[in-house]
Amino acid sequence: MRRLTPYLLALPSWMWLAIFLVVPMVAMASVSLQTGNAIDGFAMTFSFSNYSDALGRYSTQLLRSLLYGGMATAAMLVIGYPVAYWIAFKGGRRKSMYLFLILLPFFVSFVLRTISWNFLLSDNGILFGTLKGWGLLPDDFHVLATAFAVVGGLTYNFLPFMILPIYVALERVDPRVVEAAQDLYATRAAAFRRVVLPLSLPGVFAGVLMTFVPATADPINAAILGGTANTMIGNIIQTEYLTNLNYPTASALSFTLMAVLLVGIFVYARALGTENVLEAAAR
């Protein structure tokens, strides 16, 4: 009995995964190979051309999504690492308060937060409208409906998912180890490069995973801040599914995106997540 206990305890989560992940995935995989239309119904024809057709039509959006997701992730890393570092090493007794502030935006819904950025950045809104009124900005200046707005929105929305794992990794670094490096003639910069940074890489790895995947797949930011010229793959999937009722194409695109992300993660894990990298960083 006792030996079974761990399995019994894990059973609910396995059931959950089976019902809400595996079943819909199998269903979607099957739909992605069907043909037909919403009125007459779909039939399984093992039509792998669904994939090539979808890719042919939407490769621009797919590449754009990867680009925007990558840019947003890079921006989050550049902004988030110093914040995590500061909280972990200089936060003192107020650490938990700073962490709470980082999480504060989550108390407002994701869509609402993005819409408020739309308000803020709109061409003649409170910010740019006022500045234009004062003659500080040219009349045709705009941020909304540009790649900058979409990447900025993604960066803003997913930033906490970058900060938190890096913070956790940095928080675990023993300050004595950093002192030991300085005692052994390392400057502050060298101590960071040789000791702090390598020890925080697992957090960076987790942070990049937790932001790149959802940012690449996200439809909300492009829809609200991107206008018509910055459509991402998430928007296409949504439109195909909800507006065009073209379930096979939507499913094929979803699977393609998933495959691309999985391959990317795998390559990335091989390159960064292993001990080899830590060892290399130690040289």
Binding site: R176, Y185, A190, L199
Partner: protein, 353 residues
């Protein structure tokens, strides 16, 4: 001899929950080059804080730190020619043993082949050759300790600071490492500043000892002096076992409950310490001129090489006596026996108050 490390009236205050805590309250030390110098004291007395100021991790609130004659009070740790072996080792967890030991040399841009030679030699000395690819977490406490030692020593610093380096080891390994450390120190000839709260360790290894208590140095002297002539009641109590007798002396004699203590040349209130091994236990009344006290044996403990007696006096005070098992293992006195204790006048050591 030139001095390697000088502390000039150093004070360190911390602000903790809005309150000022004085961890070090004014310490002056002058440590000679090549000396094995120990800081000894109970937990929380400021040993680590003192070391951290020498290494440069903490700036003193007041006072000066000098290394080899130069004022380094405001010099960062990476520019000080001293290395520290941390209380918790603080090895780099993501590096192999080899990379840990080579770290300092690499930072100093030592040529590759010299790094290879010196790290190899050092690992040989600390008996870790063949384990250079291991990670710290794959090593035992004793091995980690030796890595920490090698990592500091390989740089040939002019002074090595060791903060309770043997604290985590079991007794056997600790004794072996004590001998090893002493041998290494003799061989490389560099100044060792050694922090410990183990009095035996300090007594056996050091050239000189600073006994610290509550942020201050109570006594600074050689091991023999510290043991035989403790400067304060705290030192007498902290180092070894010691009997403290107090009272008013008249004409060189201190009258206590059940006897007399000879304190030549003393008058007025005095505090006297007597080491347990200096006291003779017997049934006959001691000769005049010796200190002599009557009491009842309250406890006899057999300790192998010697017996320990607790003898209670008429007023309830207790005196501890050690007697060597030189001839036979039977105790001189049993529990409940009425006995005479005696010792020579020179063994009553009057503590300066």
């Amino acid at each position: 001899m030139t001095s390697a490390i000088e502390l000039d009236d150093v004070v360190k205050e911390y602000l903790s929950h809005g309150e000022v805590v004085q961890a070090v309250k004014g310490v002056s030390l002058d440590i000679a080059e090549g000396e094995f110098f120990s800081l000894l004291g109970p937990s929380g007395c400021g040993k680590t804080t003192t070391m951290r100021m020498i290494a440069g991790f903490e700036a003193p609130t007041k006072g000066l730190v000098k290394l080899h004659g130069q004022d380094v009070t405001n010099v960062p740790p990476n520019k000080r020619d001293v290395n520290m072996v941390f209380q918790s080792y603080a090895l780099f967890p993501h590096m192999s043993v080899w990379d840990n030991v080579a770290f300092g040399l690499k930072q100093r841009k030592t040529p590759q082949d010299e790094i290879r030679r010196r790290v190899g030699e050092m690992l040989e000395i600390v008996d870790l050759a063949g384990r250079e690819k291991r990670r710290p977490r794959e090593m035992s406490g004793g091995q980690q300790q030796r890595v920490a030692l090698a990592r500091a020593l390989v740089n040939r610093p002019r002074a090595l600071l060791l903060d309770e380096p043997l604290g985590a080891l079991d007794l056997k390994l600790r004794q072996a490492m004590q001998i090893e450390l002493k041998r290494i120190q003799r061989e490389v000839g560099i100044t060792f500043v050694y922090v410990t709260h183990d009095q035996n360790e300090a007594l056996t290894m050091s050239d000189r000892i600073a006994v610290m208590n509550d942020g201050l140095v109570e006594q600074l002297a050689g091991p023999r002096e510290i043991y035989e002539r403790p400067a304060t009641a705290f030192v007498a109590g902290f180092i070894g076992t010691s009997n403290l007798l107090t009272g008013a002396a008249t004409g060189g004699t201190l009258k206590i409950s059940g006897g007399r203590v000879m304190v030549p040349g003393q008058d007025g209130d005095v505090t006297v310490t007597v080491r347990p091994e200096k006291i003779t236990i017997g049934t006959e009344e001691p000769a005049a001129g010796l200190s002599a006290v009557r009491g009842t044996v309250a406890e006899v403990v057999y300790l192998g090489t010697y017996n320990s007696y607790a003898v209670s006096l008429a007023d309830g005070a207790e005196i501890t006596v050690f007697q060597q098992n030189a001839h036979d293992a039977t105790a001189t006195a049993e529990r409940g026996d009425s006995v005479w204790l005696s010792w020579q006048a020179q063994h009553s050591y009057v503590i300066g108050s």
